[in-house]
Symmetry: C2
Subunit: 246 residues, 2 copies
């Protein structure tokens, strides 16, 4: 699967800061194609550039400026419209997750996809929404649903990238060391068991076997590195040496 990321279309955005923040959020997740429909304060906009910082040259400078939604999506085969509230309209309503999955499938087949974002206060007009093939509704807390323009852009961009990301969901960062092989963990267990035996730790004798098993469990449950194993050997050596010389 590959294909071009969707075009994000900000419709009649009011605040330049929000245009800049939207451009940043797009670039954070690798999207670069922005179109603006009739921005309130004209275009270009200094506040947008200031807020976009590094995304100014890479997103804002290439942004398309259009007069209407139909012009902005004219070359797109599928258009999503983001809406905060349900509209009295017959239309598929999708989560950002499902919408970006659809967008990826369409893009992989060579189709250009657009996502519309409405003005800060009012959202998209029904006449604009009626041009979209599907709606995107972010699953927010119904008791506090307010998310702003740049956040809606961020979440859609995040979902686009998340679904195409090849990074493993979990990995172990290793700072100049490696996971300890089992033989090293075994020897570590032997070392502790021997010294604790000498120190009379396994008492009473009837519980000794269980205590030893718990200790082996403790070592194997930890993702020990070779460095960790050396540290734990060192701790034990130092403490017994200190005790014996004390």
């Amino acid at each position: 699967m590959a294909g071009d990321p969707p075009v994000f279309v900000l419709v009649r955005p009011q605040m330049g800061e929000n245009i800049g923040a939207a451009a940043r959020a797009m670039l954070n997740f690798g999207l670069g194609r922005l179109r603006l429909v009739d921005p309130r304060d004209g275009w270009p906009n200094e506040r947008a550039v200031a807020m976009a910082s590094g995304a100014a040259g890479r997103v804002l400078d290439h942004a398309g400026l259009l007069a209407t939604v139909p012009e902005a999506i004219g070359d797109c085969a599928f258009t999503f419209a983001t809406t905060a509230r349900a509209r009295d309209m017959t239309k598929p309503v999708m989560t950002p997750e499902a919408a970006m999955a659809r967008a990826r499938a369409l893009a992989a087949a060579g189709h250009r996809v657009a996502v519309l974002f409405g003005p800060e206060r009012t959202g998209l007009e029904n006449a604009e929404i009626s041009r979209a093939n599907a709606l995107i509704s972010v699953p927010v807390n119904p008791d506090f649903p307010s998310i702003n323009l740049a956040q809606a852009v961020l979440l859609c961009a995040y979902e686009w990238r998340r679904q195409g990301d090849s990074a493993p969901p979990e990995r172990l960062a290793l700072a100049g060391t490696d996971l300890a092989p089992a033989i090293e963990v075994e020897r570590l267990g032997d070392h502790y068991e021997a010294r604790l035996e000498e120190a009379g730790f396994f008492f009473p004798p009837t519980k000794a076997a269980g205590m030893k098993q718990n200790l082996r469990n403790l070592w194997s449950r930890m993702p020990l590195t070779r460095a960790d194993v050396q540290t734990l050997h060192g701790i034990l050596r130092q403490i017994t040496r200190h005790r014996d010389s004390g």
Copy 2:
């Protein structure tokens, strides 16, 4: 699966606005438990309250104020630390998605989970990160990785809610109508076929069968509602009436 949402801990946050924006982002996705470690401008903070708007009374007023990270996570069984860049530290590194899946599993088993967010400019100190059980790293564009504090909070809160959300990924919103049953679509096809037959549309005769099949395909490919079917019947009736009376 159920369980309490994670506690979000803002460590030495600098700007009150960001504390307020973080509280909003949390409440947008149903999270309410915020703790603050040594906020730069003291606490309470007017700018935080102004930015939080509706989340002030529901999140900020109940926020815990602590002096250090160990105090802030003392009652938590598992702590994630968000980091923008790799640290020279041996530690599991997880995507927000994988981390919140882990958090849900822990919460469902009755364990309290914390997520640490560092100061705006510097991020968490290594001494603080060393107290966390795992790191969260948002999979951003490596050429433009800057995401701000409130955005990091938003994405983690979004992932928490997304994974527990019961909303269907796609549904068809129906504005006071219902999907048309097949018999109505069949009659619609019959109506068009009959009038188009009269109008000599199916020409040349060798292609008529294929043209009729394409037309049936067109109707069945559309998710037609009963209202749509009535509209399409009406269009045809009106056009043929107008023509016949013209």
